[in-house]
């Protein structure tokens, strides 16, 4: 395994501490090009926040990271490995579904609409993937799930159905569900956009705790305050390309590009 990683590092110049490594990522739907060459480095244990107007391609880029969308061109490595391909002799062979699923399980994803399984209780939501995909014994999966639920402060909701929870609680359960697969990186797709304003704080608090515990995170968000406080790097995307990137505080205070300045003035 590490041979593959070393080879990729040497070949593509992947830094040793890289968790997400994107070079020249393009994505088209027919004639419509959504991503027009995106480069990004997310080191292990860091938080990258991606902002930008809707339709700028930031959600598509996020979905490329765990191969929910196939790239049209460019490369995207997670932990110095391709998610959906095996590289042999300059050819990228698409991997079989079960291997793809195993690798995809190493990147957790959170959605704007939470997407908890609505026919399952909170506990069932948490142990579904570990027991079905990883074949973890149910007792062990339950014990681990309880630890995670305690971490997000929802241990008392184990037997509730998602519709009985508030949006903020659902998103916290969704975070615990993603963590149950022990992912190397968490991808957040506007995790607080569907929440009532007074519920945003509790979800951001859980994300802050995760970041402090050393979780690598890529967060597509409109919460500029969160990006400034927690983000290690801030990326502004527009029209399928990265316009500007940098340390969050400086970039928010002194954006270089006029487009960044205009966007920030509208959301701040």
């Amino acid at each position: 395994m590490s041979d593959v990683k070393d080879e990729n590092r040497a070949r593509f110049g992947v830094p040793a501490d890289s968790m997400v490594f994107a070079r020249g990522v393009r994505k088209s739907y027919g004639p419509l090009e959504v991503l027009k060459g995106v480069d990004l480095d997310v080191p292990v244990g860091s938080v990258a926040c991606v902002i930008g107007p809707s339709g700028s391609g930031k959600s598509t880029f996020l979905r490329c990271i765990n191969h929910l969308e196939k790239l049209s061109a460019g490369i995207l490595l997670v932990d110095s490995q391709f998610v959906g391909y095996d590289l042999r002799d300059d050819r990228l062979y698409e991997v079989k579904d079960d291997l793809l699923c195993q690798r995809r399980a190493e990147t957790g994803m959170l959605f704007q609409s939470f997407n908890l399984f609505s026919h399952m209780t909170v506990m069932e939501n948490l142990i579904e993937a570990p027991t079905q995909v990883r074949r973890t014994p149910p007792d062990q999966a339950k014990a681990e799930a309880e630890i995670l639920l305690r971490r997000v402060g929802l241990l008392d909701k184990v037997d509730r159905y998602p519709r009985e929870l508030s949006g903020g609680q659902q998103q916290r359960v969704a975070i615990a569900r993603a963590m149950a697969m022990k992912p190397k990186v968490l991808l957040f797709d506007e995790p607080t956009s569907a929440l009532d304003p007074e519920l945003v704080g509790e979800v951001l608090q859980v994300m802050r705790d995760l970041a402090e515990s050393g979780m690598t995170m890529v967060v597509v968000t409109h919460e500029i305050g969160f990006a400034r406080e927690i983000g290690d790097q801030l990326v502004f995307m527009d029209g399928g390309v990265i316009i500007e990137r940098g340390a969050p505080r400086e970039m928010i205070a002194n954006p270089v590009s006029p487009r960044t300045r205009e966007f920030l003035s509208r959301v701040l």
Partner: protein
């Protein structure tokens, strides 16, 4: 002019008395009175006709209600309905999964299946399968260099009962496929996406996430289909399967007590449908547990069902 302050309003005794003296006079709904009168009149006429017309021959009806051949026919009708419904659900699920498959070939195949088996009248399909031997004389399995493993004359296995099961299962599967497809489509796509992001493969997502959630949308129309099917099985009379209707027919062909026996048949169909409706109610309540509200998903499902209803019967 002072501004009235809410907690300072005091009701004078005279005003209170004037308020309590008021009575509400309901709106006169003459149309409803007329309608009620007409309905009662019609009900009276029908009951009188039933009671006074000797051609109904109620004692004969009662005499045949538990007649052994009627009972045997009822048993066959129930068995046909159960067997056909189970097969239709299995085949229908497979066709529905093909209809939502990423492969355009599978999708088209399933589309053609539904188009054909829903489009051709059930009676014609029934008689077609019954007469399959006119098309295919025998069925055999021959492997090159090994020889013929077995060979059966079509007429030997295409008994009336078997052709009824094959014909009506395939036909009913067309309807079930559309119901199940509508159910699958009603599950928000985010559910499958989240499962996929957790590393679940396609088959597992279908089995553990999509189909279970589709169930609660699929159940009510499936109950209706089962009731329809129960009645549709009376078509097998045409190919001489000994069902409820056929057994009644063979009695009145002999005794000419046509009307009483039709009443016996109607009674048993109504009785079974009533029991099925009660069962359906409890089944729906069971599967509605995790969501009892009318949410946008339900509305979307209703829209899907209505659009397929419009194309079918």
């Amino acid at each position: 002019m002072g501004v009235a302050h809410p907690n300072e309003i005091r009701i004078e005794p005279g005003v209170a008395e004037a308020v309590s003296r008021l009575t509400v006079v309901p709106q006169r709904r003459y149309g409803i009175w007329v309608g009620t009168g007409l309905a009662l009149l019609v009900a009276f006429l029908i009951i009188r006709a039933f009671a006074s017309n000797p051609a109904f021959a109620w004692p004969t009806v009662v005499g045949y209600l538990l007649h052994p051949s009627v009972m045997r026919g009822l048993g066959n009708t129930l068995m046909l309905t159960a067997v056909i419904m189970i097969l239709a659900i299995i085949v229908g699920t497979v066709i529905a999964i093909m209809r939502v498959s990423p492969s355009p070939v599978l999708r088209s195949f399933a589309g053609l299946y539904v188009w054909f088996f829903r489009g051709v009248p059930a009676l014609i399909q029934l008689i077609f399968w019954f007469n399959l031997s006119l098309l295919i004389r025998e069925v055999s399995l021959t492997i090159p260099f090994v020889g013929t493993l077995f060979s059966v004359r079509t007429n030997d296995f295409m008994t009336p009962f078997f052709s009824a099961v094959v014909a009506l299962s395939l036909c009913e599967a067309g309807y079930m496929a559309e119901i199940i497809r509508a159910g699958i489509k009603s599950v928000p796509s985010g559910q499958a996406e989240a499962a996929s992001a957790l590393g679940m493969p396609y088959r597992m997502i279908l089995k553990r996430i999509t189909l279970p959630q589709a169930m609660r949308f699929v159940l009510p129309p499936t109950g209706n289909e089962a009731i329809n099917l129960l009645k549709m099985t009376s078509l097998v009379t045409f190919i001489a399967v000994d069902d409820l209707f056929y057994s009644a027919q063979s009695i009145y062909a002999r005794t000419f007590e046509t009307i009483p026996l039709l009443i016996v048949v109607a009674f048993w169909y109504l009785a079974v449908v009533s029991i099925m409706s009660v069962g359906q109610h409890f089944l729906e309540r069971h599967f509605g547990r995790s969501d009892t509200r009318r949410d946008p998903m339900t509305l979307r499902f209703l829209r899907n069902v209505i659009s397929l209803r419009g194309m079918s019967r």
